[in-house]
């Protein structure tokens, strides 16, 4: 996993609430067996007409935001399906940070596993950022994971909460399985005892 420390980038405004993972990456792209190459399909049905023409009004197609690595969205971002493909698509497209008032639980964990930083700000702060990104040309934000802050060059400053352990993993780019296996001895002992509980056996 790629490490994350600080990022300064254009901010792309997606002023919709309850954006579900079916929109982030529609099902027809879940048939692939690879982990990469999903960026082209990000928000596919919002980006293209059924005939395959780009939808000019959709923010991902707006040249003003080309190269943005920070996405700002409404509450309950990435609700619905557990598909990690949503995180893969966002990351493959180039996003390293999503800022929203709230995120759905499963996505929260999927994003972390793919080095995407999720910054929860208040509804009012997000509204400000959405408005700035829509109205100020070349509007950039700086996200510092170390400091847990989102700032712009005009005096906006907000801080966000991160679980200390998640922060550490993101900063170091750590692999979760390796981390769990540090507890192999405890796991062996637990499992031997747990297996005796016949009523919890799978088969």
């Amino acid at each position: 996993m790629e490490k994350f420390t600080t990022l300064t980038s254009l901010a792309m405004p997606l002023d919709r609430a309850n954006v579900d993972t079916d929109q982030i990456i529609p099902k027809q792209f879940l048939k692939r067996v690879e982990r990469t190459g999903y960026g082209d399909f990000l928000f596919f049905d919002w980006r293209q007409t059924p005939e395959g023409k780009p939808v000019a009004a959709f923010v991902l197609n707006d040249p003003r935001y080309k190269g943005a690595q920070i996405l700002v969205a409404g509450k309950n971002f990435a609700c619905g399906s557990s598909r990690e493909h949503a995180a893969w698509a966002l990351s493959d497209f180039g996003f390293r940070v999503v800022i929203a008032p709230t995120f759905a639980d499963i996505f929260f964990s999927n994003a972390g596993k793919n080095g995407i930083v999720l910054a929860r700000l208040s509804e009012a702060q997000v509204a400000t950022l959405l408005n700035n990104a829509q109205t100020i040309p070349g509007y950039k934000l700086t996200v510092s994971l170390e400091e847990q802050t989102v700032i712009d060059s005009r005096g906006f400053k907000a801080s966000f909460e991160v679980d200390p352990f998640r922060k550490y993993c993101l900063l170091e780019g750590l692999d979760d399985i390796g981390l769990t296996l540090r507890h192999a001895a405890e796991l062996d002992a637990f499992e031997a005892k747990h297996d005796e509980a016949g009523w919890l056996r799978a088969k």
């Binding site: 709230t102 981390l179 509980a197």
Partner: protein, 481 residues
């Protein structure tokens, strides 16, 4: 053991804590992982790349469901090569790593959340995961069951554990007697409508109260299934006599003396009097009605007697825009009575409502009627076992005679990854769980309802209040309800 009163969730959680490293998430032991073709290939690939093995192949089981065609011909010759590749990958992965698979031709194949309980894999007190958000279904047995992403699937394959931070607890009690025609589906749609699609984010819900207790296991699974639609991590219902009666004699249920011991253990899995929840909500079940979703999020629901709501009523600007966008997408005008909304398609099936009881309920409504001439309706049993049972009871005949298509088991039009897809603009009464934009095909319009409401809509050609439906009783009853 401390004498502090505990919730059902806390009891199950505590039995699975491997280690609680300071400043880190708890390492939680996972009793059972369910696998399917769509969210597992990258996980197995990850294992291979890291040279890791599956720690406990006996604690995983796999089936094909998401991609699979639901016609016999379609299953013999899968034309979608990418989908076929995914199924081949699962076959190879299960063979290489020693995991039991219910393949296309297996009599045990079906939707993962239908098969797990049916075969007795799902048991009270277990921790269960699957790379699928509707894993919450299994909470109906008093298991802690939740959906995970593919990296987590890999994590569980490799370690049989997951690092987890402790969720909050939320008890929703539905008390009183449900009106005739109001089902488990209506309970959960009402709850989501009330608390919103992020109303239970970060929480494990325990469903309690007399209306929940009176539900069958099928009904309880329907309720727990859609917990995720309220944003919850999981939904749980304490096991009781109904649970044990369902489990007894299933293939992987304990037998003999082990059964007695298991029931004794499972019986302890109730919330102690006085145990504290982070949140509580009490709903008067007798006031619930049959519901229909009108928008593009499962929280956008209204009673069948209501009208399509006006966006002006929304609380915030972003919500108002969401409402407007939803109505535009759904091709609906504010103020239209829901009963006047006419439909093109009907889908009865999915892990929400594809079980035998759902088939019986829909057949009871359909019996002796004909599907409206402008409607195409299909019934897709959740598993082979459901299909066989339904056929043994003659339900398939009732459906076919009424003009419904009777299909092979799979996820089908719940997410339309297989050939069962709505055409753009088509409006569907669906017993599934999600009405997101494009869920059942690009520009498809989904309305979530109970199986009874879906069957009635198929016949009437528009939504109807099931409470006013006239059931055709048979002189010699062929269907045991």
């Amino acid at each position: 053991m401390s004498s502090e009163p505990k919730t059902l969730f806390e009891k199950v959680w505590e039995q699975h804590v491997v280690v609680e490293p300071k400043g880190e998430p708890t390492v939680l032991y996972i009793d059972l992982q369910l696998l399917h073709e769509v969210t597992s290939p990258q996980a197995f690939e990850g294992l291979r790349l890291a040279g890791r093995k599956v720690r406990r192949p006996d604690r995983s089981v796999a089936t094909v469901d998401h991609n699979i065609p639901t016609t016999l011909e379609g299953r013999l010759h899968i034309v979608d090569q990418i989908a076929a590749k995914q199924m081949t990958a699962l076959r190879k992965n299960c063979a290489d790593f020693g995991i039991e698979l219910f393949d296309v031709n297996s009599p045990d194949q079906g939707v993962v959340h239908v098969v797990g309980p049916e075969l007795g894999f799902t048991k009270p007190g277990m921790t269960i995961v699957c790379g699928d958000s509707h894993t919450s279904t299994h909470g109906a047995f008093g298991a802690l069951a939740f959906g995970i992403g593919t990296s987590e699937v890999e994590h569980v394959l490799a370690t049989q554990t997951l690092p987890q931070s402790t969720p909050k607890t939320f008890r929703i009690s539905v008390e009183g007697e449900l009106q005739h025609g109001v089902t488990a589906k209506d309970i959960i749609l009402a709850i989501i409508g009330k608390i919103g699609t992020d109303g239970a984010t970060g929480c494990v819900i325990e469903y309690a109260g007399s209306a929940i207790r009176s539900l069958s296991m099928e009904g309880r699974m329907t309720v727990c299934n859609m917990s995720i639609e309220a944003g919850a991590r999981a939904g749980m219902i304490a096991p009781d006599a109904t649970t044990f009666a369902y489990l007894k004699g299933r293939r992987h249920s304990p037998k003999g003396a082990e059964w007695e011991q298991a029931v004794a253990e499972w019986s302890k899995l109730t919330t102690d009097p006085g145990a504290k929840f982070d949140r509580e909500l009490v709903i008067d079940g007798s006031t619930l009605e049959p519901y229909v979703s009108w928008g593009t999020s499962p929280g956008m629901v209204a009673p069948i007697t209501a009208k399509v709501p006006d966006p002006a009523a929304a609380a915030t600007e972003i919500e108002r825009n969401g409402f407007k966008r939803a109505l535009e997408y759904m091709g609906l005008k504010a103020g239209t009575p829901l009963e006047e909304v006419s439909i093109d398609r009907v889908f009865i099936g999915s892990c929400t409502n594809g079980r035998i009881e759902d088939m019986r309920a829909a057949a009871r409504v359909a019996r002796g009627y004909k599907v409206s001439t402008h409607v195409n309706a299909m019934v897709v049993p959740g598993s082979h076992a459901v299909k066989e049972q339904a056929e043994a009871e003659g339900l398939d005949r009732i459906f076919r005679e009424a003009g419904f298509e009777w299909r092979e088991p799979g996820c089908s039009m719940c997410l339309a990854m297989n050939p069962d897809v709505l055409a753009p603009g088509e409006r569907c009464a669906s017993t599934s769980n999600r009405n997101f934009e494009g869920r059942q095909g690009r520009d498809s319009r989904t309305h979530l309802v109970s199986p009874e409401m879906a069957a009635a809509a198929a016949i009437a050609g528009h939504f109807v209040d099931i409470r006013t439906w006239k059931v055709n009783e048979l002189a010699t009853p062929e269907v045991k309800a």
